[in-house]
C-alpha cells in the first residue's frame, strides 16, 4: 500500500483503539499497593482485642513508654519548628555561596539509614568535644545525653527536623517575597516584616511541619536504640516497646502498642490533609 497517498473521502474513518487495557493496567498496579496498605492495617486491627489492649495499657512499662513518647515527641517538635523556620526561611529567601551544598547537607538525615544516624551520634558523643559537651550539659541540667532521655530527644530531632525544614522551605517558597518587601517600604525592619507578615502567612505550613515532625519522632526507633538504648522505664519509647515485647514473645502486646501508633499516625494524616490542602478562606 502506498502511504504517500492521502486518504480520500471514501476511505473508512480512523478508529482509535480501546482505552480499557490502559485503565486496567493503571487500576491493577495502583490497586495492588493500596490493597496491601489496607490489608496490613486491617490485619493488625484483627489481631488484637480490647482485652489485650486494656491489659497492655495497664502495664506500668507501657504507660511509661507512652508518656515518654508523648513528651519527647512534643519537645522534639518544638525544637524542630524553631530550627526549621529559620533554616527554611534562609533557604527560601536568600541566595548565597554554598547554598546547594547546604541543601545537600540538609538531605543527609533523610537519606542516611536511621541506624547510621544513631551510631554517628554515639561516635560524636564519644569524641573529645562530645564528651566535653555532655559533661557540661550534665553539670548544668543534671542529665546525661547518651543512654538517657535527652539522647532520645536528640535522636528524634536529628531526623524529624530535616522533614520540618523541607516543609518550611516549601511553605516560604509559596509566600511571595514581595509582601515582605512592601512591609519593608512601610517602615518595618526585617524582623518586623518576618514576624508580622511572613510568619502569620506560614501558619498552615508550620502546623503541617509540626505534625510531620511529631509523627516522624513518634516512629523513630533505630537511632534511639543505638544512641539512647532500650532500657525499661528509662529510655523506652513506644517503638522500643514494640521491639521489647516482640523479643520476649509477647506479640499481642506488641500489636496493641502498634495499634496506638497507627491511630496516632492516622490522626496526623487527617491534620495534614485538612490543613495542608485547605485554601485560605476567611
Amino acid at each position: 500500500m502506498n502511504t504517500d497517498v492521502p486518504p480520500d473521502e471514501s476511505s473508512p474513518p480512523h478508529r482509535a483503539g480501546s482505552d480499557v487495557p490502559f485503565f486496567a493496567g493503571l487500576l491493577l498496579l495502583s490497586g495492588v499497593y493500596v490493597f496491601l496498605i489496607l490489608a496490613m492495617v486491617l490485619a493488625n486491627t484483627a489481631y488484637t482485642s480490647l482485652d489485650i489492649f486494656a491489659r497492655t495499657l495497664a502495664s506500668p512499662e507501657i504507660q511509661y513508654a507512652i508518656k515518654l513518647s508523648l513528651i519527647t515527641c512534643s519537645i522534639t517538635t518544638v525544637l524542630s519548628l524553631w530550627v526549621a523556620t529559620a533554616l527554611g526561611y534562609c533557604m527560601s529567601r536568600f541566595e548565597f555561596r554554598g547554598k546547594s551544598l547546604l541543601d545537600s547537607v540538609l538531605d543527609i538525615p533523610i537519606v542516611l539509614p536511621p541506624l547510621v544516624i544513631g551510631l554517628s551520634l554515639l561516635i560524636l558523643f564519644r569524641s573529645p568535644p562530645g564528651i566535653w559537651f555532655e559533661e557540661h550539659f550534665k553539670a548544668i541540667t543534671g542529665y546525661r545525653i547518651t543512654y538517657a532521655v535527652p539522647g532520645v530527644i536528640l535522636a528524634q530531632f536529628m531526623v524529624a527536623c530535616a522533614f520540618a525544614v523541607r516543609t518550611m522551605r516549601a511553605t516560604f517558597d509559596e509566600i511571595p517575597a514581595r509582601r515582605e518587601q512592601v512591609a519593608l517600604t512601610l517602615g518595618c525592619t526585617r524582623s518586623q516584616a518576618f514576624w508580622s507578615v511572613s510568619l502569620p502567612e506560614a501558619r498552615r505550613g508550620l502546623l503541617v511541619a509540626a505534625t510531620l515532625a511529631w509523627a516522624r519522632s513518634l516512629g523513630e526507633f533505630g537511632p534511639i536504640l543505638i544512641f539512647a538504648g532500650a532500657t525499661r522505664m528509662k529510655t523506652e519509647v513506644m517503638p522500643t516497646s514494640v521491639f521489647l515485647q516482640m523479643s520476649i514473645g509477647d506479640i499481642e502486646s506488641a500489636v496493641a502498642v502498634s495499634m496506638l501508633m497507627i491511630l496516632a499516625a492516622m490522626a496526623v494524616l487527617l491534620v495534614v490533609r485538612f490543613w495542608g490542602s485547605e485554601s485560605y478562606v476567611r
Binding site: P176, R178, R179, Q181, L184, T185, L186, G187, T189, P200
Partner: protein, 222 residues
C-alpha cells in the same frame, strides 16, 4: 523630587548602567519600556529593595542611596498588589502607622479618611481573599499612602485590571496625586495611561533612559 544620578544596579546577571532622571516635586513621572528592560529593577532600586552599586538617589533634598527601604518615605504599590493575606483591609491601612507607633484613635481617624478617599470604607473588615482586582489595588494604594509619603512608586498598578476598572483607577491616581501633592514614579506599558497621567515621561531601553517630550506623547510607541 525624585533624582537619579548615574545609578547602576546589579541584579543577578542583569545590570542597569548609569541611569539618570529627574521628576520635579509634585509631578507625575511615567517610566515606560519593553518587558525585561529593567523598569521594575530601577523602581526597586529607588525603593531600596535592590542595592545600587554606583550613583546617587535623591528624594526631595535627602540622599537616600544607602538608606533602608523603610527610611526612604516611599509608598510602594507593586504590580500584583501583594496584599497581606492574614490582615483585614483596616489592618492594611493601619499597618505602617502601627509600625510608627501611632496611637489607636489617630490610626482610626487616618484609616477612615483614607478609606473614604479611596471608596473602600465598606471593605474595611474584609480580608484580601475575594476582593476584586480594582478593590485590591485601592487597598494597596491606601496602604502605600497611609503614612503620608512624599513619594509614590507604582509598578504597573493597572496591568491586571479590566478596561473600565483601569480608567476608574487611573482617575483615582490622578486625583490622589493632585490632592496629596505626592511625586510619583509610575511604570506602565500603556501609552494611553501615560498620556492621561504624565507630567513627564521617560523611556528605558537596554542601554539608556531618555525623556520623551510631552507634546509628542500621543505618538509614544514601544
Amino acid at each position: 523630587m525624585i533624582r537619579l544620578q548615574d545609578v547602576s544596579i546589579q541584579a543577578g546577571e542583569f545590570r542597569l548602567n548609569s541611569i539618570s532622571l529627574t521628576i520635579p516635586t509634585g509631578e507625575y513621572g511615567i517610566l515606560m519600556g519593553k518587558t525585561g528592560c529593567g523598569k521594575t529593577t530601577l523602581l526597586e532600586g529607588v525603593c531600596g529593595l535592590k542595592r545600587v552599586t554606583t550613583g546617587t538617589i535623591t528624594l526631595g533634598d535627602r540622599d537616600v542611596t544607602r538608606l533602608k527601604p523603610g527610611e526612604r518615605g516611599i509608598g510602594f504599590v507593586p504590580q500584583e498588589s501583594a496584599l497581606f493575606t492574614t490582615m483585614t483591609v483596616y489592618e492594611h491601612l493601619a499597618f505602617a502607622l502601627s509600625v510608627r507607633g501611632w496611637k489607636k484613635p489617630a490610626i482610626a481617624a487616618r484609616v477612615d479618611e483614607l478609606a473614604s478617599m479611596l471608596g473602600i470604607s465598606h471593605l474595611l473588615q474584609r480580608f484580601p481573599f475575594g476582593l476584586s482586582g480594582g478593590e485590591s489595588q485601592r487597598v494597596a494604594l491606601g496602604r502605600a499612602l497611609s503614612f503620608r509619603p512624599r513619594i509614590l512608586c507604582l509598578d504597573e498598578p493597572l496591568s491586571a485590571l479590566d478596561h473600565d476598572t483601569r480608567l476608574e483607577i487611573c482617575d483615582l491616581l490622578a486625583e490622589v496625586q493632585r490632592t496629596m501633592g505626592v511625586t510619583v514614579l509610575h511604570i506602565t506599558h500603556d501609552p494611553n495611561e501615560a498620556s492621561r497621567l504624565a507630567h513627564c515621561i521617560f523611556r528605558l531601553d537596554s542601554s539608556a533612559i531618555q525623556a520623551i517630550p510631552l507634546q509628542t506623547d500621543a505618538s509614544i510607541s514601544l
